[in-house]
């Protein structure tokens, strides 16, 4: 148990550093999601199953889904807007 705990905690720190270092937003969101899932396992180890379920469903689940949706929206705008933007820049 102790070993699992240590591995998970280390994994979370590595994830946090990776999020800070990466420039790819999609990768950052996915890494963050992985960190949330590790967190939910840690909470089981800390004897709080309520938190584990909530973190998996809300923290790692829905909030990452919302981030993905926002990223997708931004991507759609980028593809559509790039042409317009270039025109403006040329002006």
């Amino acid at each position: 148990m102790e070993a699992l705990n240590i591995i998970l905690l280390l994994f979370m720190i590595v994830c946090a550093v990776a999020v800070a270092a990466t420039r790819n937003l999609l990768a950052a969101v996915i890494t963050f999601m992985a960190q949330g899932l590790a967190m939910s396992v840690v909470w089981i180890l800390l004897q709080s199953p309520d938190l584990a379920i909530t973190e998996a469903a809300v923290g790692a689940g829905v909030s990452s889904i919302l981030m993905f949706a926002a990223l997708k929206k931004i991507h759609a705008i980028r593809e559509k807007g790039e042409a317009e933007d270039d025109e403006k820049a040329e002006e």
Binding site: P49, I53, T54, V62, L66, A69, K80, A89
Partner: protein, 317 residues
């Protein structure tokens, strides 16, 4: 020229100081701009433009280059390190982890463990706490979700006249180009959605008996709806879930929640009999208000999550 460069660097440093890494106050920026003599400043800017063309990512203006400079990153690192060090010092001096002699493990734990079952009828002590003893916090929390939806809706409805058309066009486009025949996704969704929804309901209904409750179950329900919406067309989900459904379900849930909790607080503080029976702890139909409150919270959370996702995806709801 050297001096100029220094000046610019100083200006951007001021910029950073002023706004903690955010943007510069426009007035200040104007003032700083005016201090630089016009012509050389322009020249320099053009020069930088040329150099920045090579490094593809760096945008059209000189200030941006500053943001990517190494010592900016170093500074961010230093802030994080200093904060972590300070907090680690504090953690080091705090009570030991996992030991039973901390002050936190005091009368409160004892009280909750001894009384939750008889007073609230919950087998899950955490549910008993958040919906009964600290019900006011949770009431506020549910309204945080509500206000978040309101704010996002408000945000999305801020459009000028000509933007309105663009927005409608975009919504239509999104509808037109959504995947219609993704077979794998659709068959998976057909199989999984009912399971996910049932699982969500299970978590909600057993909130007072086992881990879970309105918040996690509601999020699972919301995720199920999101999956369904992603796999099939909007038209299909709009048969049973539109903006109107969302509005009425969440408003009714919130009203029920506020009124029930208000009644509970009122009778509790005045020491009146609330006429709500607790039942036999351990049964599914027990716990007085806990079960309906869990359901109501679940409805609010599910609606909120689905609504937020739809708004981000379509830009409207």
């Amino acid at each position: 020229m050297m001096k100029k460069q220094k000046n610019d660097r100083f200006a951007s440093f001021l910029d950073w100081l002023e706004n903690g890494g955010n943007a510069l106050d426009e007035e200040m920026q104007d003032a700083l701009r005016e201090e630089e003599p016009e012509a050389p400043g322009k020249q320099k800017r053009e020069k930088k433009k040329k150099s920045s063309d090579k490094t593809a990512d760096i945008a059209k203006k000189p200030r941006k280059a500053y943001a990517d400079s190494w010592w900016y990153r170093l500074l961010a690192f230093a802030v994080a390190a200093a904060l972590i060090w300070l907090l680690m010092e504090a953690v080091d001096r705090m009570p030991r982890f996992g030991a039973a002699d901390t002050l936190m493990d005091s009368e409160l734990t004892e009280f909750y463990v001894e009384h939750t079952k008889e007073e609230t009828g919950a087998m899950n002590i955490v549910t008993g706490i958040i919906l009964n003893y600290r019900g006011f916090d949770t009431l506020g929390e549910t309204h945080v979700l509500f206000i978040a939806v309101c704010t996002v809706l408000l945000m999305l409805s801020i459009y000028g006249e000509q933007d309105e058309k663009k927005r409608l066009a975009q919504g239509a486009l999104e509808r037109y180009f959504e995947p219609h025949h993704d077979v794998i996704l659709q068959s998976a969704a057909r199989l999984l959605t009912p399971l996910i929804l049932i699982f969500g309901l299970y978590i909600i209904a057993n909130g007072h008996l086992s881990p879970g409750g309105g918040f996690s179950g509601g999020a699972v329900l919301g995720a199920g709806l999101i999956l369904y919406q992603n796999a099939f067309e909007y038209r299909k989900i709009e048969k049973f879930f539109t903006y109107k459904t969302f509005k009425w379900v969440s408003v009714c849930s919130l009203l029920f929640y506020s009124l029930a909790k208000g009644y509970h607080f009122f009778t509790g503080a005045n020491h009146l009999d609330s006429h709500i029976s607790i039942g036999t702890p351990g049964n599914i139909l027990s716990g007085g208000l806990l079960l309906p409150l869990n359901f109501v919270v679940g409805c609010v959370v599910a609606c909120t999550m689905y609504a937020l996702f739809t708004m981000f995806r379509k830009g409207e709801f």
